[in-house]
Amino acid sequence: MISDSQFIEAELSRCNKCGYCMQSCPVYRVVRREPSVARGRNQTLRAVMEGDSDLTRPMLEPFFECLLCGACTVDCFGSVQTNELMVRARQAYYAEYGQPAVQRYIFRNLLPNPGRLTRLVRLTSLGKRTGLSSVARRLGLLRWLSPTLDVAEGLVATMPGAFLRDRLPRLGFISPKHTDVRLLRLEPEQATGPKVLYFIGCATNFQLPQTGEAGIKLLQKAGCQVTVAPNNCCGLPPWSYGDIEAAQQLARQNLDLLAGLDFDLLVTECGSCSSFLKRWAELLPNDPRAETLAARTRDITELLAELSLPKLMGGGTTVTYHDPCHLGREQGVTEQPRKLLVDVGGFELIELIEANWCCGGAGSYNLSHPEMSQQVLARKIDRIAATGAEVVATACPACIIQISYGVRERAWQRPVRHVIELLAERHGLSVGS
């Protein structure tokens, strides 16, 4: 990842100002203002680069208001990577004006220290399972993310009883002496699949442990020998906020933690994590371990679609599928989740119009820009309603949290689940909530 002005200039020079980026920018379709679409964001960045103006934060809000979903790049004749440009812009902004202290603390001190992060989350949630946003509030997370706490408040309904990592022993994982590594051994005759290193994403661990559990059980059923490493955050959150250094620090730290482990593929159920892990080679161009790891990374839906899971006959349940940006657009994994739902899950798939439009979750965007996030979400929920499907499936925790929130707001009884959770359920693999 070149963070120099050459990259920015090369990207900007390909913007013909044709405006075709307006077609599927979820934010633009809500606000219909030029500053809030790739063309406007890029021209704002150009003004910054050319030193045309005295820049203040309100004017630069469009840099922070971008979902980074990448839809504009697909529509762009010149494939201008506006999302990458916005990350650079944020980075430059913080370099100029300084990063908020709390943000810096989270990215540099909390995320690289999973023990500390876990303790904090546990402390605030124990006894009073009040939901992630109030946890976030207590952690001071929201203070820098958003002044409009109320809007963010309802995002998460409940906190799970136990985090995924706490559940590993119950799932049959054992730990070799003196390490934090957890192994789930299979009998040799069962181990027909690849050796999988399972990467637990933060959102899955804290908020959707049942999803991770489902993933692990499915992999096991498919003959994979699963190892869980004591990884920490993949680095995507700081990177999204333009703190590339913190992202690099996290990636390096992860590489150290994973060093020496025996595995064929690194797998995660979080579309965001898998997309970012695949980009580690760019993130750490001088670290050969990053390249090796990136090449071995698979999203769980990608891998499961290749493995031989028993096929189920149609159960008549209708499902619609939302493509997470990081999985679909970024990794090109769009067919596999659908194939799994239909072939392995026996669902009847009803295609969602604008299935690949961002739901507004976008990592912590729903906390940083709650109002915009909800308006983006409203369009998604309308489209989901139009399908009439009984179940909503997707493949990224951020999307699950966001879409569940939208569904709850409309008082629907429609489950919003990760593909693998639905599959596990259809295959009778019990998953604790």
Binding site: S13, C18, R32, R33, A47, S53, F77, S79
Partner: protein, 871 residues
């Protein structure tokens, strides 16, 4: 100043809808071109009232307003070249009404074209104009630029589909033109506003036509080894009598660019690929495809592919849709030029375009609408290289001049904007430019609306040569200019004589009327001199491959029919008195017959008009190009003006291949209301009858009515199989509605319909009132009008929302009209007498801004009111 203005605007627009931050302002200073200019302020209104308030404030402050949609424009149109306030319509994005039974949609200008299409798709309707940017461009922008698109070959451009607008004038007052029903009194202001590039006012609401989707679509791809043979194939396809929905071509440079980035399956060494799409009824599709294939084979097609399913169709389109994007991989940037030439000139123009590129050492790739002669040479270059940029500017100018040299126009669909203003004198003389300026001033006297667009600076326009006229009174001089016939009418023999007659009348304040064949004659005041165009009866040019014919104003339809018959073509204009009426008269009266249903009216068929004005100037607007958005669509002003603005000297009209089969079927019924549900179903179906008329018992005599019953008459035209299928399906529909059997009328098709159109049962000279209404109300209005005067013949066109009533001698006309008017208004329409109305009975545009603008236009063109004036 600016901040005071901002404060004022914030009083009428929610505060966050007024932008004044310099960086944000700069984002409203560009479009899809290289032109840039920062506005003083930007407003994002959400209602018409807000727009009006903004206009009032700016008008009072003397600040310019510049309308802006999605700013995908390729002409610099929305760039605020003189600063001012940009009025961005992106938040006025509500679809106000989807009125399927009347086949109309009412939308705010910020609605994105594709959003309207998506909303229409589920019930199976569509809005025809589909510009390449339809996924992002707004309908307001489409109206401003009179946008086209691949499908306009068959369906026409935005001007053919927009029936009315609401517009805030630059002084803040509101103007409404047209509406859901057709043929409103007054000049065709809608026709001028569409394509007015936002220089006449701020359009705040659009009423447009929507249509049931075609039942079948077939997409074909033909690959050729030379551009010449590909162009020949295009001509041959049309010579086969086929008008495809689209005919798109790409040249070798474009093919290579597309293959490099998209792999659409085009051979790299092919000289041209032609993308052909047919739509319509399934019955004739196989044969049409076969005919197209044969036409291509005659031109040595290398490969001919037909898409079998949606996936293959998408693949064939993939290259075309991705073409603009593909070139980005060849060069950092491009300029997309836009010219339009008669289709016959295409091969030559293409060759010269490539030569221009070679001369300047710059690559040019071509992708174009081959069917209608609209080219978009993409000039590929690196804008950071100043020398390349200089050469590209030279190329742009040479390509523009090339179009003019070949009888083409400055712009086919992108608009003049600020980029091509300087070229306007290439296409228009000083008289035309001055007249366009007068139109501009009629709407925007203070020149505050999108200034410095479209028209070249006024002081750059040269003076015209004064016309030399002998001294003396009208009575003395006129006989020297033109001879008089036995009725005492002046019969000028040529254009110049007409010009002199009008100039003389103007100088001497002599009231005159211009007459064609006199089919719409009404009593004349004694002091009025008559100028007959009878001697202007020459056919000037017939370009059968371009499907256009140019004739003088006094030419009659049979003359044209004779001329075009040899090439198997026709002029799809079948008004009253088609045997005698002159083209000039037909256009002036905007006369059309029942077949307007499928072919459109004069407004849709005319591409150019040359007229003599009372001041003695001769002006020509339009061209023989089907697609032309250079300057205001002034030709539309003369259509339906009833000779109040000038004398029509010359007209260019679109011809069409003559349909293979022509059949008429009829159904009888006691009560016209019985037909209503059948008609509703028919209009919602993909069947496209050529004409549908409901005749009262008296009118029914023309076609041999049964007993004393009403007759529903349907004219079907097209390929034999399609007509056959329509007859069958109509039969099934009627049976379902319990209406029994259609009987086929064997009389000569055109003669039969001519009698119907003329209401031939009436004695000559009977006054005919035309009532309009929304489509779905036609039968009801028909029944009610019939009750007003059961002794008169009446024919209704339920597909057009028009009813023609011959008023029987027993009734007093004024009284009759006022009763009919009340009925028509109830159903969203109005009434008017056909052609020049009996004295004192003309229907006026509604009082207010619309009438005022019409009056200003009249004054601009005919300051001494020597021509009839009813305003």
């Amino acid at each position: 100043m600016t901040s005071a203005l901002a404060d004022q605007l914030r009083e009428v627009i929610p505060a966050e809808g007024v932008l004044d931050d310099p960086v944000q302002l700069s984002l409203y200073g560009y479009d899809g071109t290289l032109y840039e200019s920062t506005p003083q302020l930007v407003v994002l209104p959400e209602t018409t009232e807000q727009v009006a308030a903004v206009a009032r404030i700016c008008h009072a402050a003397g600040v310019a307003v510049v309308p802006r949609g999605a700013a995908t424009s390729l002409s610099g149109g929305p760039v605020p070249v003189r600063g001012g306030v940009v009025v961005a319509f992106t938040r006025m994005d509500r679809i106000l009404q989807l009125d399927y039974e009347n086949q109309r949609a009412v939308v705010q200008p910020g609605v994105i074209n594709i959003d309207l299409q998506d909303a229409l798709a589920t019930p199976g309707y569509f809005y025809a104009p589909d510009p390449a940017s339809q996924n992002v461009c707004t309908l307001g922008g489409n109206v401003g630029e009179n946008a086209g698109g691949p499908h306009c070959l068959k369906y026409g451009v935005t001007a053919n589909h927009v029936l009315g607008v609401e517009m805030v004038l630059p002084d803040g007052r509101c103007l409404r033109t047209g509406g859901k029903s057709l043929d409103w009194p007054g000049y065709d202001l809608t026709g001028i506003i569409v394509g007015g590039e936002g220089t006449l006012g701020l359009v705040t609401e659009i009423t447009c036509r929507i249509m049931p989707m075609p039942e079948t679509v077939v997409t074909m791809l033909a690959i050729f080894d030379s551009l010449g043979t590909a162009s020949q194939a295009v001509s041959d396809i049309i010579a086969e009598g086929i008008i495809p929905a689209t005919l798109e071509m790409m040249d070798n440079a474009m093919i290579r660019a597309v293959e490099e980035s998209l792999q659409a399956g085009y051979p790299l060494d092919a000289a041209a690929v032609l993308l052909i799409e047919l739509d319509g009824l399934p019955a004739s599709m196989d044969r049409q495809v076969e005919q197209i294939k044969r036409a291509c084979q005659r031109s040595d097609v290398r490969d001919f592919r037909v898409a079998d399913d949606e996936q293959q169709r998408a693949l064939l389109w993939k290259g075309r849709k991705g073409a603009f994007g593909a070139v980005v991989n060849i060069a950092p940037s491009k300029i997309c030029t836009d010219i339009s030439v008669p289709r016959t000139a295409l091969p030559q123009v293409l060759a010269e375009v490539l030569a221009i590129g070679q001369k300047w050492g710059i690559s040019i790739a071509n992708v174009f609408h081959a069917g209608d002669g609209n080219l978009h040479p993409l000039v590929l270059y690196d804008p950071r290289d100043e020398d390349q940029a200089r050469r590209v500017r030279a190329i742009d100018e040479e390509i523009t001049r090339l179009a003019i040299a070949h009888g083409g126009v400055l712009t086919g669909e992108h608009g003049i904007g600020c980029g091509k203003r300087k070229y306007m004198p290439l296409m228009f003389g000083p008289a035309e430019l001055r007249l366009m300026w007068q139109v501009k001033e009629a709407f925007d006297p203070d020149l505050l609306c999108n200034p410095d667009k479209v028209l070249p600076d006024r002081d750059e326009i040269t003076e015209s040569e004064p016309l030399l006229l002998p001294e003396g009174s009208f009575t003395q001089v006129a006989p020297q200019v033109a001879a008089r016939n036995e009725q005492g009418w002046f019969e000028p023999v040529d254009e110049e004589a007409v010009q002199k007659m009008l100039a003389l009348a103007h100088r001497e304040r002599q009231p005159v009327v211009v007459r064609g064949a006199g089919t719409k004659l009404d009593p004349l005041a004694d002091d009025v001199a008559v100028i007959s165009t009878k001697c202007l009866n020459h056919i000037l040019a017939y370009d059968y491959e371009n499907l256009t014919i140019t004739v003088e104003g006094g030419v009659t339809l049979p003359q044209i029919e004779e001329a075009v018959a040899y090439h198997g073509q026709m002029l799809a204009l079948r008004p009253r008195f088609a045997q005698r009426a002159t083209v000039g008269g037909i256009l002036a009266a905007h006369e059309s017959g029942p077949h307007r249903l499928v072919y459109g009216g004069p407004r849709d068929l005319v591409t150019r008009i040359k007229a003599a004005l009372p001041g003695g100037e001769v002006v020509s607007f339009g061209s023989s190009c089907v697609k032309n958005v250079a300057g205001y669509a002034m030709e539309k002003l003369f259509i339906g003006s009833c000779g109040r603005l000038g004398a029509i000297l010359e007209v260019t009209l679109r011809t069409l291949p003559r349909p293979e089969a022509l059949r008429t079927v009829a159904l009888s019924m006691e009560d016209p209301m019985v037909a209503a549900p059948l008609l509703a179903e028919l209009f919602a179906s993909p069947l496209r009858p050529a004409a549908i008329e409901l005749l009262n018992p008296l009118a029914g005599e023309t076609v041999g009515r049964v007993n004393r019953q009403w007759t529903l008459l349907v004219g079907l035209e097209g390929f034999t199989e399609d007509v056959e299928e329509m007859v069958e399906r109509l039969g099934a529909m009627a049976t379902e509605h319990g209406l029994g059997d259609w009987r086929e009328l064997d009389r000569d098709y055109l003669a039969l319909w001519s009698d119907v159109t003329n209401l031939a049962v009436q004695p000559a000279g009977t006054a005919i009132l035309r009532a309009s209404c929304q489509l779905s109300a036609t039968t009801t209005l028909t029944a009610e009008l019939n009750a007003l005067d059961s002794a008169g013949a009446l024919r209704a066109s339920p597909g057009l929302g028009l009813v023609h009533c011959a008023v029987s001698g027993k009734l007093e006309l004024r009284n009759y009209q006022s009763q009919a008017q009340i009925l028509a208004e109830k159903y969203g329409g109005t009434t008017s007498w056909l052609a020049l109305p009996p004295p004192g009975l003309a229907t006026l545009p509604p009082p207010g801004t619309s009438r005022e603008i019409c009056r200003r236009l009249k004054h601009a063109l005919d300051p001494h009111s020597i021509l009839p004036d009813v305003l």
